[in-house]
Subunit: 370 residues, 2 copies
DNA sequence: CCTTAGCACTCTCATACCGCGAGTGCTAAA
DNA sequence: TTTAGCACTCGCGGTATGAGAGTGCTAAGG
């Protein structure tokens, strides 16, 4: 019961986890001695495995099957056993190059980040668009599409853009629109949603002398756009790499019928998680509030449907101004060192890119070794 | 051999197709007489089924299994047998309402169209963004994000917007940027990509007196943005409804081991088709060049990986100006009448919405009954 | 000539059973 | 404390078996 973690036990736990992560088959005592040239017999290893099982780090699906790490085992591995690695220079270079090719196109960063995370970690990925806790208005442009249709382009701090068309009651000249946009831009500059709301409810008279119906209509539009935008941005989780994750053995059924069935069911569940962000919801705010790379393993999730999955998350961007979350999601049997270093690298990279874009305090351009 | 299609055979073919589409199990002679109260015996039906099989409209997986339509059978059904239906008024109203709620946000139309198609047809859907064959430049805005970063917002005819950031060599005042954007807008107004290219290669001197390095840099940026945008727009296929399609029985494995395996394999394939648009590519230009609803059934596809799927497609938007393609994709055993009426309705709706947006000739607002 | 009852035949699907091989747990000895 | 030896467990693939569903054919009847 009160067994202690000797050096040897730590080592065995470590190689069991590594072995299982690599092969996806329960690991047997005999093969450990063979493969790792341990200086003691399989019987000894079996004893040690039994102790590690008592300690809660390993299990046994069935009496005659090899050992498999428990969630606690993975946790211990991540916390104490694994060595902290980085992506190879070549990989880092390649990734940087890909981001360089879409420089200037923020929308594509998210997509690219998702794709790169997925491919590098061979699992699914999730990325939320970079957002300020509260959007701050910067600029408004009104562009006439035709007589009865106007395109409003709202620009927010951090280079975030939202477009919306509307049809004003009365036709306006391009010059007119420009003037109107300029006036409103001046009025709303640097305000958050709630400040804009305050402005139109409390200080309406302050605007009234200058603005007519049209201007008020536009301000209403802007307010509404900001509200919905902020709201839907909060929930929006971009996910990718479904195919990569499905190439994991967990989703490839063996020839036995009920395993195939389970694989299909797993697959369907995974799809639902990624599609609607089901089960991921609670993680985002939590990740936004933390520093560094977060790892949530299997049963540690608050949601039941996530019990078989682990998530590796990190915040990116500049706290307080423009931030998002990105990460990797996959079966608990995940190459944690690899996932963690991938997430760490991509989040630094995105942070640096956003830093360039955003006027505020920029972190120093991160180093490769990070 | 030279059997003819009597009235009775047509009817039997029709109910076989309908029955198989509904139940997804091979249809037996006995059950047809029972379920449809046919005035003749199952033996007679068996004879008729055999003739229909000779004619190539039905098959038989195995000697002792019921009949299943062939691709030709589905084709004949779609062409001659099925009755043309429309979505119910209630459904139409609900869909219109959803589109109303995202009025003004073109990006969301595509997403919504995909979701609605999928849910209504209970299959996967695909939507390409509405695009002109050739983008026509309309307007450029340059907005300073901070000293060394400028946001360029390119507006094209049809209300299409592309945003791109860049960092000019020299800092520019907001006023300066505005003037520059105005000049370039004037110069490039109404031009297509190739016309812009012509302008900068052949008539460079015509611009030169007015423009400095900065202006030329911006024009290069615009050109590049237009090129890549047009290119990537051409390939971009938005897909949705994977989950809906996967709820079709084809993807739900029965308890037998090899069927489960096949289901998983099918699933993986389907994923690849939807993810990268593999197999869908050739359909898009074809659909863009046609009027009305297109149906491509199983083996009629040019691509092998599509042999088990049918696609129902329609163009939407105003030909020659801004158009896209949308449709439904699912197993060949598809509720064709339903899919076709869904696609028809959504494409009319999108056409009408785009008509409002785009200044050119608008179709009359379509009627419910359409 | 078309229809139909009857029946043999085929094939799938589910279940049970068997034997093998992998791997453990335990015991007893070094 | 380690380890060799061994019995025991269990999953897995293969095969046999039986039931059920549905067809194809044949021969009789309208």
């Amino acid at each position: 019961m009160a067994a202690t973690l000797t050096e040897r036990r730590l080592f065995i736990l470590k190689i069991v986890v590594q072995e299982f992560v690599e092969t996806a088959t329960p690991v047997a005592s005999e093969m450990l001695v063979r493969k790792y040239g341990l200086g003691f017999s399989s019987a000894t290893v079996r004893n040690e495995l039994a102790t590690l099982e008592d300690l809660g780090y390993l299990t046994h699906l069935h009496t005659s099957a090899g050992r498999v790490p428990t969630d606690a085992g993975y946790r211990f591995f991540v916390e104490n056993l694994m060595e902290r690695t980085s992506l190879s220079m070549a990989e880092q270079r390649m990734i940087r190059h890909q981001f360089y090719q879409v420089r200037g196109e923020l929308d594509q960063w998210i997509q690219l980040a998702g794709a790169v995370l997925a491919r590098t970690a061979q699992n699914a990925s999730l990325v939320t668009p970079p957002r300020a806790e509260h959007l701050r208005f910067k600029n408004l442009e009104l562009i006439s599409i035709h007589e009865t249709m106007v395109l409003a382009v709202l620009v927010f701090h951090g280079g975030i853009v939202k477009q919306q068309t509307f049809s004003p009651d009365t036709a306006r000249s391009a010059e007119d629109l420009r003037r109107c946009a300029g006036q409103i831009s001046d009025q709303l500059a640097d305000l958050t949603v709630s400040q804009v709301e305050d402005l139109i409810t409390h200080d309406a008279q302050q605007l009234a002398p200058l603005f007519g119906d049209f201007e008020h209509g536009v301000i209403d539009l802007v307010t509404h756009a900001m509200q919905t935008f902020e709201e839907q941005a909060r929930e929006q989780i971009h996910s990718d790499g479904l195919l990569e994750m499905l190439s994991q053995p967990e989703f490839i059924p063996s020839l036995t019928r009920d395993d195939a069935e389970r694989a299909v069911e797993r697959l369907r569940r995974a799809l639902e998680i990624l599609k609607n962000g089901r089960g991921l919801g609670p993680l985002i705010p939590q990740a936004l509030a933390s520093e560094g790379v977060q790892v949530i393993i299997g049963g540690e999730h608050s949601e039941d449907e996530m019990r078989e999955y682990s998530v590796v998350l990190a915040r990116y961007g500049v706290g307080g101004t423009v931030t998002g979350v990105l990460g990797v999601i996959g079966p608990t049997r995940m190459a944690y060192p690899r996932s963690i270093s991938t997430v760490r690298y991509i989040s630094s990279l995105m942070t640096s890119l956003l830093g360039d874009l955003y006027a505020g305090e920029t972190r120093p351009p991160f180093e490769d070794g990070l």
